[in-house]
Amino acid sequence: MILRQIFAVLMLNLRTIPARLGSSTVAIIGIAGVVIVFVSVLSISAGFSAVMSGAGSPSRAIILRAGSETELTSAIGGMEVRIIKEAPGIMRDGDTAVATADLYVIIDIPKINTPGSSANVPMRGIEAEAMKVRSGISLIEGRMFRFGTNEVIVGRAANQQYANTKIGDTIVSGQNRWEVVGVFEADGGLPETEIWCDVHSLQSVYRRTNSFSTVSVRLITPESFDILKTWLTENPQVHASVRREDEFYSSQSETMTRLINTLGFGIAGLMGIGAIFGAVLTMYTAVASRTREIGTLRALGFNSMCVVVSVLAESMVLGGIGGLIGGTAAFLAFNGYQTSTMNFQTFSQVAFAFRVTPQLLGTGILYALVIGLFGGLLPAIRAARLPIPSALREL
């Protein structure tokens, strides 16, 4: 019974929204604005961490110098690399370990959209086994570089974001020349921001004779990690720490994601409070303009509960419309937007795309409904408390 009453009053409310189009629009636009900002800012960190965590696999491990947190600050000598490659737990192909000692550096290359200033683009020298270690890598254009030359292949995202990285281009860096011969993809992961070349060519240019940054290995099974770790810890000849690759890369997105999320939630939170005030205004106006109508309903025997619920529901409908508009706009404008930023933790560029995930959209719309609910609260109480006789007398 009461439900039918509520439903009847709600439909009446909703049908009369067009008559209050002006003030309803204010509330809808306000809430849509909050949702756009909320969804778009958080889609940045969603995209960023997707690239960072997409880079790793639990069946690979990365070995750094003990105490180093990033590839850039890690250094392992050639002798030590040879010992590390003997460790148990590493997959073997015949006699050779499926492992690559990489040299990871950064190289100054301008971004295409800021041609005047250079960016710290990551460059990785690899050994021949690298392609066996990292199974997700495939060339999509051109060919693999030849070892022993100054040829390079570039990741797909690097190819889109940085100048002079097309096939046939020459990357000029100080007195060095790198010839781009291929473009590769890596399931959308972090390597797609990188430039790859022969580790020995890179060592001579960066004056790191027989020195590497890290050793990446393929584990026999994900469980072999513990065997490898124990062996490395107990061997006095190696001074290294080992991490599972997926954990290592996702830990490197923490600072950035935390920063974006703090700012995103802070701004969207404050905007939300403002939007609640806006919704309060709209709903007060709605209630005021319908005073006589509400009085009539009450006089007809509709109880005050259903007046409250109907006002709240109207407010939430406005919120929901705002949420849908905002979410759709954010999705259309930002989903897949390609950009590149410097990861504070690694001091290197990361190319990524904004990701408006379904989860994010859901949260945005839920947030819009909450704003609508709170915005409707006070006006709903006011509507319920209207004394019937004076309400009926209202113009």
């Binding site: 306000g30 710290n120 960066y206 004056r207 920063l259």
Partner: protein, 381 residues
């Protein structure tokens, strides 16, 4: 002035409506202030970066070192006032992930170039006298509760073998707005004598103070020519250009923040405008009566605009003030945005915007009120 009371009464005609409108505009400008602070933080202090300071980095990348010998070659070049170098130490405190802004410098030269670092003379003397001494920014000292004379162990993965490295806090520097107070400067000699032998005699980058900022471009070319065709070629920029280019690496934070600020102002400007429309519509009778008793068109226009301006300027002003107060509490991200302050230009822009918002919100209703024909308006009752 005579009509202030009238405006005041009109503003508070509907208390609830006015209060919520004021709150909306308040939040709009508080957000504006905060967003502009964030934007400024991401420019990494470009405002205090000197035009008379040039930065020389390795042409290949900042992470490759430059030879120590360049220092004396630079000092001999004409137009150079001070030439010194800095080296990134990558010192981590307590946890290996907690890397601080630690830089090895030549203390005397450093203070000569960075006059904006303020610390008492006795602390300077103590720093110069102690090879393990370091001066730390006020904010950094506050974050870890460091006091003068404290011993601070830092780990550095870059400069094995010795670790942890022990430092003494010789001084705590302060500085004006825009000076990064989270840095940690210590003696280059201490680093050089204790790092692995094959890493010695290399520095991170050079900072050169030039006598005439007008010559920045030509001197930059001269420096780069001096070291051309060597094993370590250089790339020279003004410090300002260097910081700007570094900020660009993070991305187009400028456009993102402007977009957010515009959304916010548009959203809440609509609320103010809608309030004004309703408020004038309700008062049609009154306005007609005012006109009947002889209020001129201009005066009516002014009265309505003044009401609208009152709302946006009072609430907006308080909003900016609130933003300022929040910003005074310091960086909310715990050290990621060291230069966290509300820039003066943003305050000026905010004031202009609140006046504009008041005018735009009020102009429609004000014109409607002005054009009101007395006979029509009075007949409506």
């Amino acid at each position: 002035m005579r009509f202030l009371a009238l405006i005041w009464m009109n503003v508070w005609r509907r208390r609830v409506r006015t209060s919520f409108t004021l709150l909306c505009v308040f939040i709009a400008f508080m957000l504006f202030g905060l967003v502009m602070t964030i934007r400024n933080a991401f420019t990494l202090g470009v405002d205090v970066a000197g035009m008379d300071r040039l930065v020389l980095i390795n042409k290949v990348t900042l992470i490759l070192p430059l030879p120590f010998s360049y220092r004396d070659r630079l000092r001999r070049m004409p137009g150079v006032e001070v030439a010194t170098h800095q080296t990134w130490f990558n010192g981590a405190y307590q946890e290996t992930t907690n890397v601080l802004n630690t830089i090895a410098v030549e203390p005397e030269q450093h203070l000569k170039i960075y006059k904006e670092l303020k610390l008492p003379q006795d602390q300077i003397d103590a720093w110069l006298a102690d090879r393990q001494g370091a001066i730390v920014g006020k904010d950094l000292a506050a974050r870890y509760g460091w006091k003068l004379g404290d011993r601070v162990p830092l780990m550095s993965s870059l400069w094995l073998p010795q670790q942890p490295w022990e430092f003494n806090v010789s001084g705590i520097y302060d500085g004006g707005a825009g000076v990064d107070k989270t840095q940690f400067f210590f003696h280059y000699d201490y680093l050089d004598q204790n790092r692995a032998a094959e890493l010695r005699d290399n520095v991170g980058w050079y900072i050169v103070k030039i006598a005439d900022p007008g010559q920045a471009t030509s001197l930059s070319h001269q420096f780069d020519a001096e070291f051309a065709n060597s094993g370590a070629e250089t790339k020279t920029t003004t410090e300002k250009g260097f910081v700007e280019s570094f900020a660009k690496q993070i991305g187009d934070i400028g456009s993102i923040t402007i977009a957010i600020a515009s959304t916010v102002l548009f959203m809440f400007g609509m609320v103010a405008a809608s309030t004004m429309v309703q408020s004038v519509r309700e008062r049609t009778n009154e306005l007609a009566v005012l006109k009947t008793v002889g209020f001129g068109d201009g005066l009516i226009l002014t009265l309505v605009l003044a009401e609208s301006l009152f709302i946006t300027v009072v609430a907006g002003g308080l909003g900016l003030l609130a933003a300022w107060a929040v910003v005074q509490q310091g960086d909310p991200t715990n050290g990621l945005l060291p230069i966290f302050l509300l820039p003066t230009q943003a305050i000026t822009a905010g004031i202009v915007l609140m006046v504009l918002m008041g005018l735009i919100a009020g102009v429609g209703p004000a014109l409607a009120a002005m054009r009101l024909r007395i006979s029509d308006a009075l007949r409506r009752v």
